[in-house]
């Protein structure tokens, strides 16, 4: 069985940390279908396993048990090298701490995944500049991360995540380190990504961020305890309420 038109499909997905008495199930037999183009928000208290779930979906961590498909391709048995190649082309990560390379300029950070994927330097640069323009940082392309504000850094990180036009963008607390204005900037970006049909999985504590999603899954102790599909009118309304319409 494969995922069909699903971007992500998981069955019995589990992740176990530690051994013996220290053994904990960070993710406990989770089933999940994420259709292409859906924006999924994963919420829950600290330590409930939502970040681990995101890492499993993006191939950053190996699953302990269960099956995982990405665009119909089973990936839970892939080795480290194959997962790395998969991440290059199919996944874009956005982290809470941005994780930009401090010694590279904004545009160099953005084109990094494209170069890793074997794009020509010219193509990678053109794409990076387009993306920086899209996130409103065309005039900051040559700045080092240290010369950017937190919100600007996160926008660079989002542009980097889009570098290879990934199947899915996985964001781990993308607004966790941002003030309100920067958070709104990031949410506007996610909103525009959603409108272009980009699959998004966002792990967040922030209810405002969750409210912009098509669907919200709540986790507790490694399991899903709630799965709510928000009507389009609802998200749009909240978006308007937050001033995300533009």
């Amino acid at each position: 069985m494969t995922g069909g038109t699903l971007a992500i499909r998981a069955r019995g997905l589990s992740k176990v940390h530690g051994e013996g008495q220290a053994r904990t199930r960070a993710v406990d037999e989770v089933d999940l279908d994420v259709p292409a183009g859906q924006t999924l928000a994963v919420t829950g208290p600290s330590g409930c396993g939502k970040s681990t779930l995101l890492h499993l979906l993006g191939g950053l961590e190996r699953v302990s048990a269960g099956e995982l498909w990405l665009a119909g391709r089973r990936i839970d048995r892939l080795g480290e090298r194959a997962l790395a190649r998969l991440r290059r082309r199919a996944i874009g990560f956005v982290f809470q701490d941005f994780h930009l390379m401090e010694e590279l300029s904004a545009v160099q950070n953005v084109e990094l995944p494209a170069l890793l994927a074997g794009r020509t330097p010219r193509t990678a640069r053109r794409r990076a500049l387009d993306l920086l323009d899209r996130v409103g940082l065309a005039d900051r392309a040559q700045r080092l991360p240290a010369q950017l504000s937190g919100g600007q850094r996160q926008r660079v990180a989002i542009a980097r995540a889009l570098s290879n036009a990934p199947l899915a963008v996985l964001a781990d607390e993308p607004t966790g380190n941002l003030d309100t204005a920067a958070t709104n900037d990031v949410l506007r970006l996610f909103d525009s990504l959603r409108s272009t049909g980009q699959t998004l999985v966002i792990v967040t504590h922030d209810e405002r961020v969750a409210a912009t999603a098509d669907r919200v899954v709540s986790m507790r102790d490694g399991r899903f305890v709630d799965d709510v599909h928000l009507p389009a009118a609802s998200t749009g309304g909240l978006g308007d309420l937050l001033g995300l319409g533009g």
């Binding site: 890492h55 993006g58 950053l60 961590e61 190996r62 480290e80 090298r81 790395a84 190649r85 998969l86 991440r87 290059r88 082309r89 996944i91 990560f93 982290f95 994780h99 390379m101 401090e102 010694e103 590279l104 160099q108 990094l112 995944p113 494209a114 170069l115 890793l116 994927a117 074997g118 794009r119 020509t120 330097p121 990678a124 980097r160 290879n164």
Partner: protein, 599 residues
């Protein structure tokens, strides 16, 4: 292509943003490669300088000196010059062995009488002033340098004053102080040329001259065969009481190498010691960046880089630095060797071409350091899972239960210090290795000191002079190496203490939160360096004596008490040096450390 550009960009960006790290690498590895390149090039350079001097002076293939005096000798030399296989000759020249005085200093010298016109064989090359004229002396350059004599000064030869009209070099004798022509090279003798008429007036029946003849041969490479013919011819004329001493050009050239022989071995050994120190220091420096490197690797892996690519980028950076360091070493050798290979100035300077063997050895040394320095981090990066890497999780600390339990009975600084030392065994081993390589040349210097104090008598002035000169050159070489190694070891001690302080900042902050004073923490950090310092000295001192013995098998071993005292001084020095970064580390605000998420 894209990955290659990315790798280059990452390397360049890292080098640009962390120039200190790159600078320390280049200094440490450059010192090692330079020592190796110089050591391996000295002999070639010396030979090259002799060949240049020989060409510039139309040097002889065979230098002949009479052992007795009188007309029989002169006639014999004239016969020799007509032997088959001889293509040219200079002389015979009168030679007196006497004492000269310059600036009140006495010195032994061979004084050779020459025509004012240039000779066809062995015409000394005048480097300043001009060639001999009646009443004027020309000094061999090494001899003049040793006496501090310049053109225009005056010297006294056998009671007569002569102005120095020129300074020159020759290939007909060995370098100063082996230039005497009285029955071959004598100890501590220089060479002076006077107009033949001046010598003639000095010599008398009571003080007859010897004679020197310089020959060129049809086959300059076959001097041994010709030498044998001369010996046979000399035996056949035993009735004429002729005694001839012959020296082929190959022997003269080899004699020049003798002075530098120990220095060459010492430099090559020193290069490897420097390489070990460099590995220890650079690995410790890398530990300071471990968290950052792991996080960087995690980021690259999250963006799709394979572990192999991440490791390759890390190694490529060190590869580039290693190649630059190798280039620096070879450049230093190219610049310094002409002077180092000509310590007395008796030869014309010549640059030493870098031989493929030297380039390969130097490159191998630099790459070996790069590989050993990168291997640990590269393997760690490849093995660290992406998520912990993104969190910047450093290697887990070690907690040897036995030592931790035992340390609980000790005073607070010792207890904390021993626990700190036990947390990072690999770092302690590196620190010990670094200090061992610094202790080795210190032990070498100590050994040298006891050689000069207790030099055995061989009953031969020439051998004694040679030994003294070789010891002098060896001493200079060991001093230079010891200074370089001690500086690097001091840097290592500071870096290792600082990385210990960073590693342990949370646990030490907790200790301080519960009442440990900054003084106790400082003491703990300094004491943490002592086990590796003691181990390093305990290994390095005997190794140093052993290496000296390898270079000079007639070595007198220094007494045990002197080795113990010197070793204790090195350990004490390391402890004192460690207190500097320890004090800084111990005074960081506790609240800020415990409040940060860096631990």
């Amino acid at each position: 292509m894209g990955q290659l550009i990315l790798a280059c960009r990452l390397i360049l960006a890292d080098l640009r943003h962390r120039p200190l790290h790159a600078g320390v690498f280049l200094v440490a590895v450059g010192a090692a490669t330079a020592a190796l390149a110089v050591g391996m090039s000295l002999s070639d350079a010396n030979t090259g300088q002799y060949e240049r001097t020989r060409a510039a002076t139309r040097g002889p293939d065979l230098a002949v000196v009479t052992g007795t005096d009188g007309s029989a000798d002169r006639a014999a030399l004239a016969d020799l010059a007509r032997m088959p296989g001889v293509t040219g000759h200079g002389g015979p020249y009168r030679v007196l062995h006497t004492t000269v005085r310059a600036g009140g200093r006495p010195a032994q010298a061979s004084v050779q009488g020459r025509d004012t016109a240039p000779a066809t064989v062995d015409q000394p090359y005048v480097t300043s002033g001009h060639w001999v004229r009646p009443g004027g002396a020309v000094l061999e350059r090494g001899f003049a340098t040793a006496l501090g004599v310049r053109v225009g000064d005056r010297i006294t030869v056998a009671g007569r004053r002569f102005p120095v009209v020129g300074i020159a070099v020759t290939a007909a004798t060995s370098v100063y102080p082996f230039e005497g022509e009285h029955l071959g090279p004598n100890d501590g003798s220089g060479l002076i040329w006077l107009a033949d008429n001046d010598i003639r007036t000095m010599s008398s029946d009571e003080w007859p001259p010897n004679y020197a003849l310089d020959l060129t041969l049809a086959d300059p490479a076959a001097t041994d065969a010709f030498r044998q013919r001369v010996a046979d011819w000399s035996d056949a004329h035993a009735d004429r009481s002729v005694r001839l001493s012959t020296r082929p050009w190959q022997e003269i050239s080899a004699q020049n190498d003798v002075i530098l022989a120990d220095s060459q071995s010492t430099l090559v050994i020193g290069a490897w010691l420097l390489a070990v120190t460099a590995v220890a220091g650079l690995a410790s420096l890398a530990a300071l960046r471990a968290t950052e490197q792991v996080r960087r690797a995690g980021l690259l892996k999250a963006a799709g880089a394979t572990p192999g690519l991440v490791a390759a980028v890390l190694f490529a950076e060190y590869l580039v630095l290693a190649l630059v360091a190798a280039g620096i070493g070879l450049a230093v050798a190219w610049l310094a060797v002409p002077a180092l290979a000509n310590p007395t100035g008796s030869l014309l300077a010549a640059t030493a071409p870098v031989t493929p063997g030297t380039a390969i050895a130097v490159g191998t040394l630099a790459l070996l350091v790069a590989l050993l320095t990168t291997l640990g981090p590269a393997v760690r990066v490849a093995r660290t899972a992406t998520v912990p890497a993104l969190a910047g999780t450093a290697r887990p600390l070690q907690h040897p239960a036995g030592l931790t339990g035992l340390a609980g009975w000790l005073p607070v600084p010792v207890m904390l210090g021993l626990r700190l030392a036990a947390r990072r065994v690999r770092r302690a081993v590196l620190a010990a290795a670094g200090l061992a390589t610094a202790a080795a040349p210190v032990a070498g210097l100590l050994t040298w000191h006891f050689q000069t104090d207790d030099i055995p008598w061989y009953g031969d002035d020439f051998i004694m002079a040679q030994r003294a000169l070789r010891l002098g050159r060896t001493h200079h070489t060991i001093v230079v190496l010891a200074v370089a190694l001690l500086v690097l070891a001091a840097l290592n001690t500071v870096v290792i203490t600082w990385s210990t302080a960073l590693d342990a900042r949370r646990s030490l902050a907790v200790a301080r939160a519960f009442g440990a004073t900054p003084g106790q923490v400082t003491g703990a950090l300094a004491i943490a360096q002592l086990p590796s310092a003691v181990a390093g000295v305990a290994i390095g001192m005997p190794v140093g004596v052993g290496l000296y013995w390898l270079v000079a098998p007639t070595t007198v071993t220094p007494p045990g008490w002197s080795l113990l005292l010197t070793g204790a001084a090195v350990v004490l020095g390391a402890a004192v040096l460690a207190t500097v970064p320890a004090r800084i580390g111990a005074r960081r605000p506790v609240a800020r450390i415990l409040g940060s998420n860096l631990g």
